[in-house]
Amino acid sequence: MKFPLHWLFLFFIFSSIVLASIEAWGQHQGFTEVKDIAGFKLQFRQSAVKVNSLKGEFAQEKTMAAITEKIRSRGTLWFKRDNKVRMDYTTPFLYKVVINGDRMAISDNNHETKVNAASNKLFQQINRIMIDCMQGTILDSKDFSSKVFENESRYLIELVPTAKNLKPFLSTIILTIDKKDHSPDAIELNEPSGDKTSIVLKNKSINGQLQDEVFSI
């Protein structure tokens, strides 16, 4: 039995569309891939810049795949443009991290450590990821390649590290952005081992008054 050539051609086109849809659906359920990345970047950059400050509560969950273990923590997050982020973990342990430009301060059990992120490449990169995720500049990062997906209410940005020193720590970062105000909803850090950490932001207050002292180091 012989198939006409145009039938074969149509079959391949149809199969490709189905496979691409299955792949996209399998990757991020309910999201479809945004093809015009350049157009998206431009529009995203213009919209994200409108988020000048943010205060919210976060819920963090780390899942350890190999030993079927989870740990949940909670706290408060503050962001102020440019380059200021603070996270206070309040439950089940106390821990504070403040990023202010190139400087970083970490407090645990009344012990404070100050780090000049510029002097440590890894700190600088981790610093940068957090800042870039908050202020919407992550798509410009040279440390990651990116794909963008969307559904009705959210964008989902999938970042794969290209920087050699980040690859042992991270396989992907999934950043979810609210389409209404272009503020981050959730960040998911996936490790090569299969472990993952998700940070979900709740009760966000955007562009409220936020003093610089909140980020003092």
């Binding site: 350890m64 923590s73 645990d108 059990n109 042992p168 850090l189 081992s193």
Partner: protein, 208 residues
Amino acid sequence: MRFFLFSVSVYLFFGCSSYYKNLSRTEVDHECLERIKPRPVSKSWYHASVDVFGKHLSGLLLIKPMADHSHRVVFSNESGITFFDFEFGSDGSFSVKRIIEQLDRRPVITTLKEDFELILGKPFLQPLTSWKHDNETYFGIENGRERIYFTTTDCKSLGRIEIGSRKKRKVSVSLVGDISSAPEGIIITHFTFPMTINLNKFENHVEE
């Protein structure tokens, strides 16, 4: 000047003398031994604080007994990135499941392995020897040039868990709280280089 010379002589005399000079071997009191012997820690989460060579870092340490009777000791930072994951087998085996490049050095792994083996009571699964000094009883083993032991003064409570070289202490572990299964606090002090690990237990209410 004479006082200075005397002080230096006294310091040198006692400084060079063996920490274990006055230990004398005794018969093992098995009842006492079983009462205070360090038991493997049950599943516990600790907030860890590490000071080493003037540097400070913190993180979360999980000690988890597994179904096959092995133990996993996992250290991650507060943001969730795993620094190392060690497996201590029930047969005495040890394997590194995961470690970040910055910590992947033989002396670092050996030091941490020995520290956690003390917490898990691994060296004390074999027949033990006993020594005495004043009112303190030591139970332990001699392993080549090292002596690994735990102490008690009253046969009711555990004193310290330690590793010593022939002459001096190398590392000491103190447990705080319920030492039978999950101590509230664990302090690991090294004497041959400046490192202290402070572990404070916290409750993690997550249903699996």
